[in-house]
């Protein structure tokens, strides 16, 4: 039914429109004073983070020529010393609250939007970056901003127009032109959290919109080396040429609060179009990338090898200076290393989950059918996974819990949370999902705890024909064959002789039709990707083929002529 298909396609319209049109709850968003205060404090936090970054890079006085002659040879990093004197005059400017009249419109109306809150960065967006297209660029020609002066409690409104910024996803940022002005202010959505770095980078066109300042390398004793002359393209290629596995961690604030992120390298990052200067992009040795770009903490997984290559690049290709902060003990850094390494290991518990959680199921048809998969214990490389940018979800159970409680009420009770774990599921290339999945284990917060993809197979595979049997388990691509005398056989030849015309060979429900006493020939089969080793295919003189390669043994009717043909080939 075509119109039902259209109706289903409409299910995927923007959530914003769905919520806007809620039939019984028509919520008008207004700005209350306490919201404004919360906003002001979060805006101040953003600015403070920027100022702290300024202190460690270009906003401070430094003396390049001085060296610290009191440094002992044993402590010498080998880098020229740079003395940093703190400049706290900028703090005074930030602390002072402007009056309504002193503020510009983006400072007055610093929050826009209803359901998605956009916060001003008080940055002018050049007109050539504005998308003026009536269809795609003008987001709301009749917007109205409303705000309350915290000093007088008076409420103001102003008409404005919301525009898209070229190259930037409208869920992340927009530009606003207030009535009576001809300039455009940048507003960002600090609450929009991407699922992957790829999404983040593409939505903001980071490759073209950001620039790098200095990089800072934190030594084990807390001392910092500043590296200048970063080649942005080189750094981008090292870190972001392949972002396929850079997923976002689901609770970055919690990770930071528990000391689960320890900075090793940070890069000062600017995004001028949205007004971000000296924002941090930091990397840890254990494979995390932290950034507060767009005003909220985000942490992504990153390959530890990339972090290592970044470190190598900085130390071998860039000029470095050891930073000496006046008034601070040598070795004391702004971000102390967490001495609680167990907080990281608790977060990433690698307690051999692959041996403990071994069963997962997929239900369909309103839960009436289940496909059950069990681990083979084997792993596959990411290259053998389909669509590695987007994975499904999975819950993996212990065998004991699953067997005992699956068909009882207790399956959904509290015991379940103690006997299951989360995971990402992905299809294997050339193997049908009804036969096998690849699973990557996560904890129940979606944090990956084992980087391997484990193969799970469904034993209740019920093909109709021999071709379907061989094709669905990827035999054409993965199977290796040996004769009974252990002689390797050409896989493509075996495929041609046995399976290529297998559409005609239907499965027999009665497996006893294969009589081993009438066996004509036999070959050994391995499909290592599915954990199938030392399996066999046999043919009998009365025209039946027996296969125990995958799942329960199956028998197919292939006819006497084909059985003889196979035997002639194998016995040659």
């Amino acid at each position: 039914m075509k119109n039902i298909k259209t109706a289903k396609a409409l299910s995927e319209i923007d959530e914003e429109y769905i919520i806007e049109a809620l039939p019984e709850e028509r919520i008008k968003v207004t700005v209350f004073p306490w919201k404004y205060l919360a906003l002001a404090s979060s805006f101040a936090l953003i600015v403070c983070l920027g100022v702290m970054a300024v202190l460690f890079s270009s906003g401070v006085q430094s003396d390049k020529s001085k060296t610290n002659s009191s440094t002992s040879a044993a402590d010498d990093t080998g880098y020229e010393k740079r003395i940093i004197k703190a400049d706290d005059s900028s703090f005074a400017n930030i602390a002072k609250e402007k009056s309504w009249e002193e503020k510009n419109n983006s400072e007055r109306f610093s929050e826009m939007g209803g359901l998605q809150k956009f916060v001003s960065t008080n940055t002018l967006v050049p007109a050539d970056r504005i998308n003026f297209s009536p269809m795609y660029g003008v987001l709301n020609p009749y917007a109205e901003a409303r705000a309350t002066d915290p000093l007088t409690n008076k409420t103001y409104t102003i008409e404005c127009i919301e525009y898209a910024i070229k190259g930037i996803n409208i869920n992340y940022a927009m530009a606003v032109k207030f009535k009576g002005e001809e300039v455009y202010y940048a507003y960002v959505n600090t609450e929009f959290i991407p699922h992957t770095f790829k999404e983040f980078a593409e939505s903001l066109d980071l490759e073209n919109n950001i620039s790098f300042g200095s990089a800072y390398y934190t030594l084990n004793d807390g001392r910092e080396i500043e590296f200048e002359g970063i080649d942005k393209k080189k750094v981008w290629d090292i870190l972001f040429s392949d972002t396929s596995s850079m997923t976002a961690l689901s609770d970055p604030n919690d990770i930071l609060a528990k000391g689960g992120f320890t900075k090793r390298v940070s890069i000062s990052t600017n995004m001028d179009v949205l007004g971000y200067k000296n924002i941090t992009m930091s990397f840890s040795d254990d494979g995390m990338l932290f950034t507060n770009l767009l005003g909220s903490a985000k942490i992504f997984r990153i390959d530890t090898k990339k972090v290592q290559r970044l470190k190598t690049y900085l130390t071998s290709s860039c000029r470095g200076y050891e930073l000496i902060y006046e008034g601070r003990q040598q070795g004391e850094s702004e971000q102390k290393r967490s001495s609680d390494s167990s907080s990281v290991s608790k977060l990433f518990d690698e307690n051999d989950v692959s041996k403990k959680y071994t069963v997962f199921e997929i239900t369909s048809n309103y839960g009436r059918s289940s496909f059950i998969y069990r681990t083979t214990g084997s792993t596959v490389s990411p290259q053998e996974i389909e669509n590695s940018d987007s994975y499904g979800g999975a819950i993996i159970y212990t065998e004991e819990f699953y067997k005992k409680y699956r068909n009882t009420d207790k399956f959904y009770m509290e015991e379940r949370s103690n006997n299951s774990i989360g995971g990402y599921s992905a299809q294997l290339k050339h193997v049908k999902s009804k036969c096998a999945y690849a699973i990557k284990y996560t904890n129940n917060f979606g944090v990956v705890i084992d980087d391997n993809w484990y193969v799970f197979t469904a034993k209740d595979f019920s093909p109709s024909t021999l071709y379907e049997y061989a094709n669905d388990i990827g035999m054409k691509y993965y199977a290796t064959y040996t004769s009974k005398s252990q002689k390797p056989l050409a896989a493509d030849k075996v495929w041609d002789v046995i399976f290529d015309d297998g559409e005609k060979n239907v499965i027999e429900s009665d497996t006893s039709k294969y009589d081993d006493s009438k066996k004509l020939a036999e070959i050994n089969v391995d499909i290592s990707i599915l954990g199938c080793k030392g399996k066999s295919i046999k043919v009998s003189e009365d025209g039946y083929l027996y296969a125990d390669v995958f799942g329960t043994p199956k028998v197919f009717n292939i006819g006497k002529e084909k059985a003889q043909k196979i035997a002639d080939y194998l016995n040659k």
Partner: protein, 184 residues
């Protein structure tokens, strides 16, 4: 309990997640479902299936808006059930009227449907370009499957005004989709 806390309950696999979802959104889910299915039994089954789907997909999903996420799930489940129940039936009915209207988005005589992602993106762009009231009426009618009477009452409008507005929006959408090369 707010959405964020309920999602956290799903994440820690607490059974309380389902009961909290029921408390917060049970009536809402029932409303969406019954607008489409008109059958108490089917509605109850669909709503329970939606909770199951939430349990199975969070984690690793972590929806920003649980309500919107749940709405999409339950709407799709209800449409699946509707399709299954009415595969061979034709006839009048309030839900059928909505589908007849939806059919207008595409040129008459068109047998092929464009890719659903293309439809979604085009409709999103269209909705972003129209007046808020038109958009709300459209979504209430073709997403929530509210009756014209219900919509009129919610907005304090006459039924004929609602019908006219919906007709105009459908016509505009059809022209828009034609320009986009969808449903032509």
């Amino acid at each position: 309990m707010d959405d964020e806390k309920i999602v956290e309950l799903f994440l820690v696999r607490s059974e309380q997640a389902i009961s909290e979802t029921k408390d917060s959104y049970g009536a809402y889910c029932t409303k969406i479902c019954s607008n489409i299915l008109k059958s108490k039994e089917d509605t109850e089954e669909c709503v329970n299936d939606a909770y199951m789907k939430l349990w199975e997909t969070i984690p690793p999903q972590r929806p920003r808006s649980l309500k919107a996420y749940l709405s999409k799930i339950i709407r799709n489940l209800a449409l699946d059930r509707y399709e299954k129940n009415h595969a061979k039936k034709r006839g009048s009915g309030k839900t059928e009227a909505v589908f007849d209207e939806i059919e207008e988005f595409f040129s008459s005589g068109s047998d092929e449907l464009s890719d659903s992602i293309a439809i979604r993106d085009a409709v999103n762009r269209f909705l972003g370009s129209i007046d808020k009231q038109e958009r709300v009426l459209f979504v209430q009618r073709y997403w929530y499957f509210c009756t014209v009477k219900e919509i009129a009452k919610m907005h304090g409008l006459g039924e004929s005004k609602v019908k006219m507005t919906l007709k105009r929006t459908r016509d505009d959408l059809r022209i828009y989709l034609q320009k986009e090369g969808i449903g032509v």
